[in-house]
């Protein structure tokens, strides 16, 4: 008998975070819902065989998203030149700046976006991010640097 109560507890504890991560990855409210549902159904079907369900769910989420971007054009493409940053316009509120950052996130390539979401929303270390994405730590670092440069975000903290 599948441990449905265990799965329910897991969804209750982590569902909101995973849903928001999915929406950040896809850049769309509804596609994010579909993506997180796809990932969590996989988690449910493997429940009882997974040692660490949250990392597994993140991997399923990111892999499903990258697969989808390979197969379909969702109406967005990564751009070489991102929109002008809000910081270059005087008197922009913090809220506008955050909105601008989220819009610019949509201009990143799928893997760049995944690295940013895992590192700065899910708060994973570089090693954890590399394990989730199935790429070397060095690639995570370079992808992250490239993405931050495109977002023109100044990172002053040391690497985690």
């Amino acid at each position: 008998m599948r441990d449905e109560e265990g799965f329910r507890s897991f969804v209750e504890a982590n569902g909101a975070t995973l849903l928001h991560a999915a929406r950040l990855l896809t850049g769309d409210h509804h596609r994010g819902e579909d993506l997180v549902q796809t990932a969590l159904i996989k988690v449910y079907l493997k429940w009882g065989h997974i040692d660490a369900p949250l990392p597994y769910a993140r991997r399923a989420l990111v892999n499903a998203h990258i697969d989808q971007t390979r197969r379909k054009w969702w109406g967005e493409r990564p751009t070489e030149t991102l929109p002008e940053q809000a910081g270059e316009v005087a008197d922009v509120s913090a809220s506008d700046s955050r909105d601008q950052l989220r819009r610019m996130l949509g201009g990143l390539a799928a893997k760049e976006r995944a690295v940013i979401v895992l590192r700065y929303y899910c708060d994973l270390s570089e090693q954890e991010t590399a394990a989730t994405l199935g790429m070397p730590v060095g690639t995570v670092k370079s992808t992250c640097s490239r993405a931050l440069a495109r977002l023109r975000v100044e990172v002053t903290s040391g690497a985690r």
Binding site: F7, V11, E12, L18, L19, I41, V89, V155
Partner: protein, 278 residues
Amino acid sequence: MAPPSEFDLRAALREGEGEGLDADHLIIAGGERRARRRARLLSTAALIALVTGGAIGLSQLGGSGDSGGASSADSARRGAAAAGAAGAHRPDFGQATRSAAANGGAPAPQPGAPMQLDAVACPAAAPAYLLPGGGGLNSYGASGPMFARAVSGVVVCAYGPARDATSTPARHPARLALSGSPARRLVTSMESASTVASAQPCGRGSTNDFAIIGVGSSGQRLSLVTAGISNYGCAEMITNGTAVRYDWSPPPDLARRMLALAPSGPAGSLRPSPSSTR
């Protein structure tokens, strides 16, 4: 101005989080996927058994005389029996089809639709609510939700051209079951339609009667909403008997599927839905 910091990035990413997920819906969807996977495996096994039995039979037919023929027939029978036995384990949609047809529905399980939707039958005739005063802004509950609980699936019943009381009864309804994103998009468009009648309502001309039944995550039947949708994909008014919305347009892809169930009159280009996504 200074460029955004890591703190700004984290704050930007966190903004908007908070909405949770329905674990029951995920469990139901997971169960459905597992059942479909098993059905596919069984049908593949049955096909292999049938092909193997047939191949053995054919090869033995090409061998010695009567004894070969008899054993080839036995092999073919065994192969067919194995196929039949495997086929018997398929989920039986026939029962739901027969029972729902008796109620005036013609359910055709849609890919991805949870099995609970199959049990939701359409009313035999197009339902009609009598709203006090015809319904409106100041009527009790008129601006309330169409569905009091979260909807996991939707059954759309199409009755064909709208008829008045003196005309012949509507035909048996055609049926469309939606779940997941299409169901959510349809419900969202209904809930977000205007609560105020406009001076120039849409939905003029020939309309088709629909009943839209919400289904909860446990398969429980929720509200039934009536809608008369024009060939242009717009309904002047929709109601669940209490709440009312005006000038409702389903998302275009869903409007096409719904109108395809009950085509009438000349096809028109669909009115763009303000909330359409994909």
